[in-house]
């Protein structure tokens, strides 16, 4: 396999820790990658200077990276990246970037990779109902899901080369609309607690929110809940026509586990299910299944978690 390049996952000009997982995945695909850090301030790149497993760091500095614009980011990165196979994260924004860069370079792109073996990569297909393995016959762009590869360790020494770059912004920001709640979005959170129609009424989601606030989780919902209750917005929906999540911990409460929902969360590292119906399909996918009503289980869970966190 040819040279590999990792584009760091960025969050407010800071390297997201999952980038160390991308480096490991790129290493498995070929040689030690060059890490590209898209930034407005090159100090951002220092976070990776002691990582093992990288052959060098390029801090790609540009005002373009202030706000996300698909065309601007891709052209600014294209200008500074060597040729080879490019690895990105698999957040919605990074998948967009992966596809755009692949377009710039006339390369194929494979999204949501969860396994690398030689030049073969595997990703979910049909919403996780099947897995598909493909072989990369040449340079490609690959987005890799988080929480799957073990991150590379500290203990290395890398110098950072700074390259000023520029790209043409195609779109422009008109307005930022801050989320009404301070709570994380399901697609950003490491822990997600979701409620289904078994919650009985939208007001009862406040019990999920209480647990979420205790452990820093995001609150999600099943499609049934979103479709039934106006007060539960589509932005909370986890599943095939909602968001796909793979947090470290997913807690499903009053969710039966329809195929549609499983498609959006089955790759979570640990799954806890609380449902009063012992035959609910969700239990087949749960690491810890509790057959109980939410009224019985949530207060116990909440108080135990509270005491653990204190």
């Amino acid at each position: 396999m040819s040279e590999t390049i990792v584009i760091a996952e960025m969050n407010n000009n800071t390297i997201h820790p999952s980038t160390a997982e991308l480096v490991a995945a790129a290493g498995a695909l070929g040689s030690e990658p060059t890490l590209i850090v898209p930034c407005t301030d090159v100090a951002a790149a220092d976070a990776a200077s002691s990582w093992t497993g990288i052959s060098g760091i390029i801090a790609a500095k540009s005002n373009v990276f202030e706000n996300y614009d698909s065309a601007g980011w891709a052209s600014a990165l294209d200008a500074v990246m060597p040729q080879g196979t490019i690895v990105t994260g698999a957040s919605p924004q990074s998948k967009d970037l992966a596809a755009r860069i692949a377009g710039h370079r006339n390369l194929p792109v494979v999204q949501d990779v969860v396994k690398v073996e030689g030049n073969q990569v595997t990703s979910p297909a049909y919403s996780g109902k099947a897995m598909q393995t493909v072989s990369l016959g040449g340079a490609s762009v690959v987005s890799v899901r988080s929480n799957i590869f073990s991150p590379v360790q500290e203990g290395g020494q890398n110098s950072v080369s700074v390259i000023d770059t520029t790209g043409e912004l195609a779109t422009s920001v008109e307005e930022f609309m801050a989320r009404a709640s301070k709570r994380l979005d399901v697609s950003e959170a490491n822990i997600v607690i979701s409620g289904g129609r078994g919650m009985g009424a939208p007001e009862n989601f406040s019990h999920l929110e209480a647990v979420a606030d205790t452990i820093g989780a995001a609150v999600g919902a099943s499609r049934a809940a979103v479709d039934t209750w106006e007060a539960i917005p589509h932005s909370m929906q986890v599943g095939q026509t909602g968001k796909t999540v793979n947090p470290n911990l997913y807690i499903a409460v009053g969710i039966s586990g329809a195929i549609q929902h499983l498609a959006g969360m089955r790759s979570s590292r640990y799954i806890v299910a609380i449902n009063k119906d012992a035959d609910a399909p969700i239990f087949k996918h749960a690491d810890y299944g509790i057959v109980a009503t939410w009224e019985d289980a949530l207060p116990v869970l909440q108080s135990k978690l509270q005491s653990m966190m204190d």
Partner: protein
């Protein structure tokens, strides 16, 4: 591509004759893909997924793209063309699009399996040939879940793009809402552009009887475009590995034990 009652002007250029529209009405395209019904059970036969008994439908996000394209036409005029790539069996979803109100339906015929580079190169060619000015597609297709087509085609065309769009406004150009860090962002998207649509608060219109009758009579415009060679080749498809059976508990009090195990056994929290 003359027709549809629109005004066109023939412009002779040095090497060819091309058609330029002299009205301001956009030539709107929507990309649609046929996928297995999302409620269908997926089974494996040998090394690959067996879709022989599965009902095929338009990918759900493409319906949001279609609705948005129709809203664009209602706001700005012009015409909407639905385009898919595939064999004659995919014409059903084009007819469905026609029934919902698109003006034209186009099927692009190619040969063999394609990786994303081959497919998007074909789409770029088709959209260029047909004079598209704005393209809507679903944020991802239900079969791959990849979401590569919108931004990938936009890059190949050299156009602007916006993905995961939850609402679109057509007053004074196109503004879209898309999720950003910490909240939604409203961005202005200049044309030409490719816009990949999420559900948002869209209510997708239903086909009415008149539309269904028109769709029955509608002819599919078939174009043949040769795809460049693919370098990404499917090796096999399989069912996801079965998860080992988890622990199960009766009664709400067990929640305390599970919380403790999440820390002690799973190293979480």
């Amino acid at each position: 591509m003359l027709g549809g009652g629109k005004v066109h002007e023939l412009v002779a250029s040095r090497s060819s004759i091309r058609i330029r529209r002299i009205d301001n009405m956009p030539n709107i395209f929507v990309l649609v893909k046929q996928v297995p019904d999302t409620n269908a059970k997926i089974s494996i036969s040998g090394d690959s997924v067996d879709l022989s008994t599965v009902k095929m439908v338009m990918s759900p996000y493409d319906e949001f793209a279609l609705e948005t394209a129709l809203l664009h036409r209602e706001a700005a005029g012009g015409e909407v063309t639905a385009l898919t790539v595939g064999g004659p069996g995919t014409e059903k979803i084009l007819k469905d699009a026609k029934a919902m109100g698109v003006d034209k339906i186009v099927r692009v015929e190619t040969s063999g399996e394609m990786d994303t580079n081959a497919l998007q190169t074909v789409l770029k060619q088709a959209l260029t040939n047909l004079g598209a000015e704005v393209v809507y597609c679903g944020k991802s297709a239900a079969d791959t879940g990849a979401g590569s087509t919108g931004p990938g085609v936009a890059a190949r065309l050299g156009w602007a793009s916006a993905s995961n769009v939850t609402s679109t406004n057509f007053e004074g150009g196109i503004s879209v809402t898309t999720p950003g860090n910490g909240g939604d962002v409203k961005i202005k998207v200049p044309l030409p552009a490719v816009i990949s649509c999420d559900k948002g608060n869209l209510k997708v219109r239903k086909a009415n009887i008149k539309g269904i009758m028109q769709a029955k009579k509608a002819t599919v415009d078939v174009h043949s475009i040769e795809a460049p060679p693919s370098t990404v080749i499917v090796v096999n498809q399989s069912l996801p590995p079965a998860k080992p059976a988890g622990k199960s508990y009766q009664g709400g009090d067990a929640a305390a034990e599970v919380a403790q195990l999440l820390r002690d056994e799973a190293n979480l929290l």
